[in-house]
Every structure is written in structure tokens, then in C-alpha cells.
Amino acid sequence: MARKRYIQAINEALLEEMERDPKVIVFGEDVELAIFGDTRGLLERFGRDRIRNTPICEATLAGMAVGAAATGYRVVLHMMFSNFIYTGFDAIANQMAKLRLMTGGQIELPITVIAGYGGGRSTAAQHSDTPHPLLMNLGGINVLVPATPADAKGLLKQAIRGHNPSFFLEASGRGGDSGEIPDGDFIVPFGKAAIARRGADITIVAIGSMLKPVLAASEKLQSAGIDAEVIDPRTLVPLDDESIIRSVRKTGRAIIVDEARDRCSAASHLAAIIADKAFSGLKAPVKRITVPDVSMPYAPNAESRVLPNEDQIVQIATALVRTKQLV
């Protein structure tokens, strides 16, 4: 084990996978310079045939990823900010997500799209979105939301080695967070949630960037005598709903914390699954802590107003645990 930063973990995964398989290529806007740090050093190591800057043309980049993957390469497409997924969305929704089915399974599309998501840094509405609900709804696309450096590395390696399009959503502004990373070659399988904290009183599902505030809130809850279990799904497609259901059956209470807007979010999807599959075990309503259905404002205080935070989690968890068993 070694302690590393989140962005370093991503960088290592790229480096190791490019080393491992000469068919792995990386392209995107400004990847040579690596403005997030995640592609740093790759150009020097692998040259421009393997990693190259592109023009700013996301619609084409997403389509090119499909063409390059369909013809035998493993493509890592860096789309920088998740909002730029929208400008490439035609090829993502209409080609990347559908070509395998439409060709009756003739095509494999090993594509990993990297994009930073989320608010908290005054980048305003067009650089702060959390787009996983949209991607989850496409079908045919894996959605990865690693919260820790180890998961970032292991999931990215799995995505690059995989056979399907995967969106690797990195929490913007979390690049400096550090954590322990296993030594050597390791992968994190898709569809396997992590129990980030064990507890008996309430299940808090923390999606991606929300793991950090949820864990901090759990410590506060602990000092108030509330023992929270924290589940990090790690991948939203495929989703390990069994681990979540098992936990909720044990605790009888559930909160899902998601930085996406509330309407049709991963949180609402999970809430529906819990209501469906763990109904008899519930002692309280299932709660969602999400961003309201608004665009991310610019001013730091306005941004804080809409982002889920520790106090909110503590408050809602406390209220839920104090709720008497529903008849």
C-alpha cells in the first residue's frame, strides 16, 4: 500500500494500461499538457500516436472514439468537464450506446470517457454538472463514480481493459484527496459496492463526490449515538443494488446522497429500488439529499446553498433515526 492522490491514481492507471496494451490510445482537448494532471507524462512516455491533443469538437471526438474502438483500438477519450459531454452527446447517445445492439453484437466498443464533474469551485453552471443520471438512462453505457484514489485506479484500469463504453466520472476538485492504493496491478470490478463504514442504525448511500461529506457526517452522527452504515456504489451502471438492499434491511433506514439534480437522479432511482425491494424492512421514509432542480450558481455562498453538505446529512439522518417505526 502507498498513499497517493486521486489524480495520481488516475495518472498511474492510464500509464500502466498504456504500457500493458499498445492498442490503448488517449485523445481529447489539452491532454498533452494535462490540465487536470491526470494525463501528465503520457506524451513523453508514449508519443503522439498514443496520446494527442484534438481540436475542440466533442461531437466528432465521441464519434471518432466509436470508429477507433470498432476498428480494434482501446480508446480513452478525455472530455475535460462533464458539461462537454453534452456537446458530444449525439455520438454518445446514438452511436456509442447503441451500435453494439444495432449490429447484433458484431461490434465491441472498449471506450473509456473521462470527465470531471460537480460543483464547489465557482466554475458556474456550464462547468459544474453531475451528468450521471443522463448517462445511466442511456443503456449500453457503464457509469463509474469512484470516490477514492484506490477505486479511481482500479475502476479506470478495469474500464480500459473492458469491452464496453464506460464513463469514468472524476470528482472535480477532489484530485488532491489522498488515500491508500494497493501495490502492483489491481482492478476494481464493476457492480460491486464498497461498504465504506459499517453501522447498524441507518444506511447512507454516498455517490461519488458525496462520500467525503457523508463520512464526515457519519463521525458526527456517531458522537450523537447514531451508527451509520455508509455504502459507496462505486459504479452506477452496473449497480450493486443487492449490497444496498442488504444494508437497508439491516438498518431499516436509508438516505441517498447524490450531487446530481434531484429529478430522475441516481438517488431517486435508488430510492425506488429500496422502496420496491426493501419495503417491509423500512422503519422510515427513504430520503434523498441532492442538488435542487436548479443550475449551479457561481457565487460561493450561492453554490453552498444548493450542494449537499455535512450538516444537512446529520440533520436528516438524525430525524430519520428518531422517527418511530411506521406501521
Partner: protein, 331 residues
């Protein structure tokens, strides 16, 4: 005798066969669509056969093409199996895409056919990506993006002209100017000349009579040689005409609405690319009328076989939907 300039007599006959196959397949689909036998809509290629056949005659199995929603012609010209195509359009499990794609999505990776595409302009970037890997591999492959005049107004067209020129990719753009963007005449929604857009990137450019298969063949030979030689993209605009509507059965919902004059259609019918090639073959003494009729009859038999095969095949397996959504993973 074959050279860069002109196809050999043998090649001319092969072009005739290729175009006739497309025509007879499409005519049969027209009839079967009208008879209500097909589950989905078909967009027919009648009148444009010279473009697909003239271009694909210059390609190898290992070269890539992307096609359009009007893609049967490209599929067949690139060597796709008529039976498997017909079964696909009929929604059968023996279809080339096992009934999962249908008319607008016929694809055969083993023949380099990356697929017809229901999104207008959807093929540009896929072909550009294929051209990128061809260049990276140094395998001498080229990619051809077939697209219509309608697609030329999509932004990705400009993006792909830029990227392919910038990186000198082995990519041939083939604009099939069939005069219509679905139900709208192209001239009413297009400014300037489409070929000028390619010229702006200094891409070598040829405008050819898309109903003259020899002219298309000649231009494509030059374009493919250029791209294969590592000189970058090439642009061909083939002027042709869509004889059928945007899709069969459009009369049902257009409710008498018209977007073109019958006279215009008839004028273009008079420039039929297959009839023109037939005239050439006869005037050059390459074949007799009887021989050409014999070829057509043989191909008509092939089309009958394809339809029989499609009709006799089992319907698609609905469970396959779940199996092929992902590779090795449940949806």
C-alpha cells in the same frame, strides 16, 4: 484494358452486376413495403447505384465504410450478403444484425461495413475514427464516409474535414448529392456549394456525374489511391438524384403534400445510371443485349432467393436484445 483512367471490360461488367443487384433488391423491397410485408420503413437507393458501386469497386474487404440511412446500396456494393441483408430488413434472426438493426443499420464488420446509420451525418466521425486507426496501424486501409447533401449541413462535417486534414487521415468523403434533405429540396436549405466547404480545407475535390458509374469509378480510384498513399483526405461530390421518396409509404402521411415535380423525377429517370452503363456496354461491344439480360435474370433469381430465405427464417430472438446490449455483461 484496365488502367487508372478506365475500368476494364471485365470491371465494367462487374459494375453492371453490382448496380443491377442493388436495383433489383430495392425494387423488390419497394414492392414488399407497398404490400405491407416489412416491419419497418425502407429508404431506397434507386437511381444512386452508380455512386456506391463506382466507389466500392476501388475498395478492399479490409477498407472501412460508413453509410447512411439509405444504406442498402453501400452494404451490397461493399460485399455484404444479399440474403443476410434481406433477412435483416424482414426482422429475422438470420439477418446480418440478427434483426436488431433493421434497414437503417445494416452492418457487416467482416466486410468493413461499419454500418448504415439512422442519424444524418452519424457516419462522419466514425469513419474519421476508423481512418485514425488505419493510420496508426500503418495497415494501408482507407475509410470512406458516404453521406448525403443533407448531412453536409451538420456541424460534424466541418469538424471531420478539419481533423482528417490536420492529421492527414486516409479518409475519402463521398457526398451523394441526391437533391433532397428528407422532404426538403437541398437548394432551399443550403448556402454555397458543398464541395467548397472541403476546398476551404485544401482537400482535393472532384465533382462528378453521380449517374455515370465510369466517372465515379475513375474519381474514386484517384481518391482511394491518394488516401492509401498517405496524402490525407479526398472529397468527391457525386451529383445524382433520389428517384424514390425519402421513404416508402411517405404518401400515406404526406397527405397529398408535394416537395418536387413529377417532371423533375422523370427527367432524372431518363438519366438512369444502369441504362447508361448498359448502353455503354452495348456500344463498346463488351456484351450483347442477350448477355446483359441474362445477367439481370440471374441476379433476379438471387433476389428471389434472398426473399425466400428471409421469409423462411425464424423471427428475431427477442432475448438477444438483453444479450447483446453489452459485451459480456447484463444490461
Amino acid at each position: 484494358m484496365a488502367d487508372q483512367q478506365n475500368p476494364s471490360n471485365e470491371q465494367l461488367l462487374s459494375l453492371f452486376e453490382g448496380m443491377t443487384l442493388i436495383r433489383l433488391m430495392e425494387e423488390r423491397l419497394r414492392a414488399d413495403a407497398a404490400a405491407g410485408k416489412l416491419p419497418g420503413a425502407v429508404h431506397l437507393y434507386i437511381g444512386q447505384e452508380a455512386v456506391a458501386v463506382g466507389v466500392c469497386a476501388n475498395l478492399r474487404d479490409t477498407d472501412w465504410i460508413t453509410s447512411t440511412h439509405r444504406g442498402h446500396g453501400h452494404f451490397l456494393a461493399k460485399g455484404g450478403d444479399p440474403k443476410a441483408m434481406m433477412a435483416e430488413i424482414w426482422g429475422k434472426r438470420t439477418g446480418i444484425c440478427k434483426g436488431m438493426g433493421g434497414s437503417m443499420h445494416v452492418a457487416d464488420l467482416s466486410k468493413g461495413i461499419l454500418g448504415a446509420n439512422g442519424i444524418v451525418g452519424g457516419g462522419f466521425a466514425i469513419a474519421t475514427g476508423a481512418a485514425l486507426t488505419a493510420k496508426l496501424s500503418g495497415n494501408g486501409r482507407v475509410a470512406v464516409a458516404f453521406f448525403g447533401d443533407g448531412a453536409a449541413n451538420q456541424g460534424v462535417f466541418m469538424e471531420c474535414l478539419n481533423v482528417s486534414t490536420l492529421w492527414q487521415l486516409p479518409l475519402v468523403f463521398v457526398c451523394e448529392y441526391n437533391h433532397f434533405c428528407e422532404f426538403t429540396p437541398t437548394a432551399t436549405v443550403t448556402s454555397g456549394e458543398i464541395a467548397d466547404r472541403a476546398k476551404a480545407f485544401k482537400i482535393p475535390c472532384e465533382i462528378v456525374d453521380g449517374n455515370d458509374v465510369v466517372a465515379v469509378w475513375r474519381s474514386a480510384a484517384k481518391a482511394v489511391e491518394w488516401a492509401r498513399g498517405g496524402k490525407g483526405p479526398f472529397f468527391i461530390e457525386a451529383r445524382t438524384y433520389r428517384i424514390q421518396g425519402h421513404l416508402e409509404s411517405e404518401d400515406l402521411f404526406l397527405a397529398g403534400g408535394r416537395y418536387r415535380e413529377t417532371q423533375e423525377v422523370e427527367e432524372w429517370r431518363g438519366r438512369d445510371p444502369i441504362a447508361r452503363l448498359r448502353d455503354l456496354l452495348l456500344s463498346k461491344g463488351v456484351s450483347t443485349a442477350d448477355q446483359l439480360d441474362g445477367i439481370s435474370a440471374k441476379i433476379a433469381g438471387q433476389v428471389d432467393d434472398a426473399v425466400r430465405f428471409a421469409e423462411a427464417s425464424d423471427p428475431a430472438n427477442p432475448e438477444l436484445t438483453f444479450d447483446v446490449m453489452f459485451s459480456g455483461q447484463k444490461p
